[in-house]
Amino acid sequence: MSNGKRLLELVLPGALTGFAAGVVAGGLAAVVGQPAGWALATMLTLGIPLAVFGGGYSWLLATGRVRLGGFAPAALYWLVAFPVARLLHEAMVHLVLGGGFTLPDDILGFLAYQGIVSAGFAIGFLWLHERLAPRWWTRVGPNNPEAAAAVDRYLAHARTIRRRA
């Protein structure tokens, strides 16, 4: 299996969860027959950055750079990633719809607000990610050493906690 495919398998749970958030915002619009332009633009300009950052989180977790299942690392990660994704969305959605490249008026206030909201996003992200990732990595583990190692870390972590309990 190529390195690229293995990496893709590794980052898929986070990328999927991140993209789902963009799809929630844009996808429902398409289903209910709302203007396709806004729906599609939001789906892509918000979904893609969130998918990239979500995949990044999966990669950090799978390669042991982030503590398994902890809320604090996820909250810190999204404290930076979520405002950046929203800033990209704000700038790009106008660009895509032909309004030119514009940034929010009060950019610092905008980023601060998005930073606070990111805590809520982090809970939802972690909730779905921890549901998807261990199952998916267990499934692809036989052909993907990094995924198998990630599953081993989950099991080892569980054993450590059990010893402590």
Partner: protein, 503 residues
């Protein structure tokens, strides 16, 4: 405590260790029901196991209180009124931990715990559940929101939804697993989606005032003490987080998820797989609290459930309410009519106006999205409510109705489920969805009264039916005692001062 090598203890109404005289297995005798045999407490899961039965409580708890009632109060009285919400939800988090204490220590529901203290208390909850929860009115908000998006009449959606819920729960091999997976995904989408929507329409100022408002302890404007608003305020506090009997049902989900001593009790299966259900034991179990290893495992279970209570339950309930409050503030700023409609109390008109104002700001997609989330909240609550109601009634029937043990628990569950579905469809088609108007006040009264009553039950059960080492600390008892006074006090104050029960 429960060591068969100890001398036999004298039986009394409170819990104590006894054993028979001739090599009988060690048991824990608690109250008037069969003693609980001593079994090993399983290992607690690591805290990375993020999802627990709290998912049910979140699904049940995040409802109209969070998405409508509190945003409404904020628009009327300002964000400072939210300190009462903070108290309400925090109180519910402590109640949740105490419900979990009994369920995890014994594998029994809190209903069985109540029956151990005094059986009529349990029958009170049995009858209250039927009176309050058979009316399908709770379906209307979610189904009406779905109608706004799709145009399908809400009664049709509600009836089809009811039948689908029945079929899915009847076909499932193990109902708990199916429902946990389903609700987990739905709530995950709700949480992520709410955060994204709040990030699209809210502002720093809205969020700042909403958060700051939570710490204005003691703020109580004089209008809030009026006959119009006080009952609404009491209802909103009671509906902050899980309301009515939802916390009691949580003990059944804990048992079915295998938490603590629940691991020794078989899971409820769908009707199609009921034949495979193992024999249901006649009572719960207890672990040896004099064994240091067992107590270590117990602490692990307490850590696990505390994590569940604080991050998932408290955190998500707060997040959804804060987000919807921010949304309501944004909507009211865009369109002053929204404020008037919300204040006026016409829920459907207010939600519709909020949706319109979002459509004006961020494109019509935001308006539909708003309704999408209201529909999602309704779906979560309905799935959780039907399952929980059937679970609770089946549990009480199986253990306490003479002759009911001839049936399997799964059969009783299916009986109550299809009973409430059939009744629900008939009422949707031919009757008043919320219940006959003449009894609405009684139902609202019972729902809030049950919350004060379960605080009293918790104090009795946890302090009298459990071995000393695992009883609650004094400060926990103080908080639960405060809960009883809080719910019952406000309810009766409203009733006697204004002649109105909660709204």
């Amino acid at each position: 405590m429960v060591d068969s090598s100890n001398a036999p203890a004298t039986a009394s109404s409170s819990g104590e260790a006894v054993h028979g005289k001739v090599r009988a297995e060690p048991v824990w005798k608690a109250g008037g029901l069969d003693p609980m045999p001593i079994r090993k407490l399983p290992e607690a899961p690591p805290s990375i196991h993020l999802l627990g039965p709290t998912v049910f409580l979140v699904a049940l708890g995040v409802g109209m209180g969070e998405s409508y009632m509190w945003p409404r109060l904020v628009l009327v009285f300002g964000p400072e009124i939210r300190w009462l919400f903070l108290i309400g939800v925090t109180l519910q988090a402590v109640v949740m931990l105490e419900m979990a204490r009994y369920a995890m220590a014994t594998g029994e529901s809190i209903f069985s715990g109540a029956a151990r203290v005094f059986k009529p208390i349990m029958w009170f909850f049995f009858i209250t559940a039927i009176l309050v929860y058979i009316w399908p009115g709770h379906l209307s908000a979610g189904a009406a929101a779905f109608e706004e998006i799709t145009g399908i009449p809400w009664v049709v959606t509600a009836c089809v939804g009811l039948v689908l819920v029945g079929i899915v729960f009847s076909l499932a091999r193990v109902i708990y697993n199916l429902l946990e997976n389903l609700l987990a995904v739905l709530i995950g989408v709700l949480v992520i989606g709410t955060a994204v929507i709040a990030s699209l329409v809210g502002s720093w100022a809205d969020l700042g005032s909403t958060l700051a408002g939570m710490f204005h302890f003691g703020y109580f404007p004089s209008e809030a003490l009026s006959p119009t608003w006080f009952p609404i305020l009491v209802g909103s506090i009671a509906f902050a987080g899980p309301s009515g009997m939802q916390q009691m049902w949580y003990t059944l989900h804990l048992r079915d998820s295998g938490a603590g001593m629940g691991a020794h009790v078989p899971q409820i299966r769908g009707l199609r797989h009921a034949g495979k259900e193992e024999e249901m034991p006649a009572r719960g179990f207890m672990f040896d609290t004099s064994d240091a290893d067992e107590m270590k495992k117990w602490k692990g279970w307490r850590r696990w459930v505390t994590w569940d209570a604080m991050l998932l339950f408290w955190g998500i309930t707060m997040l959804v309410t804060i987000s919807f409050t921010v949304l309501a503030q944004a909507a009211a700023r865009e369109n002053p009519d929204v404020k008037t409609l919300i204040e006026g109390g016409d829920r459907d008109a207010a939600l519709s106006a909020m949706s319109d104002s979002f459509a004006a700001v961020g494109g019509s997609v935001l308006g539909s999205l708003f309704f999408g989330f209201i529909a999602l909240i309704g779906l979560n609550a309905t799935l959780g409510l039907f399952d929980s109601f059937s679970r609770g009634q089946a549990d009480m029937t199986y253990f306490f109705v003479p002759g009911a043990k001839r049936f399997k628990m799964s059969h009783l569950y299916a009986g109550f489920l299809w009973g409430v579905i059939t009744f629900g469809i008939l009422i949707l088609l031919f009757g008043p969805a919320d219940g006959p108007s003449g009894v609405l006040d009684t139902l609202a009264f019972l729902s809030t009264f049950a919350m004060g009553a379960y605080c009293v039950v918790l104090l009795l059960v946890n302090n009298r039916m459990l071995p000393k080492p695992i009883r609650p600390r004094w400060w926990t008892n103080m908080i639960i005692g405060f809960g009883a006074v809080f719910y019952l006090g406000m309810l009766f104050f409203s009733l006697f001062k204004f002649g109105v029960v909660v709204s």
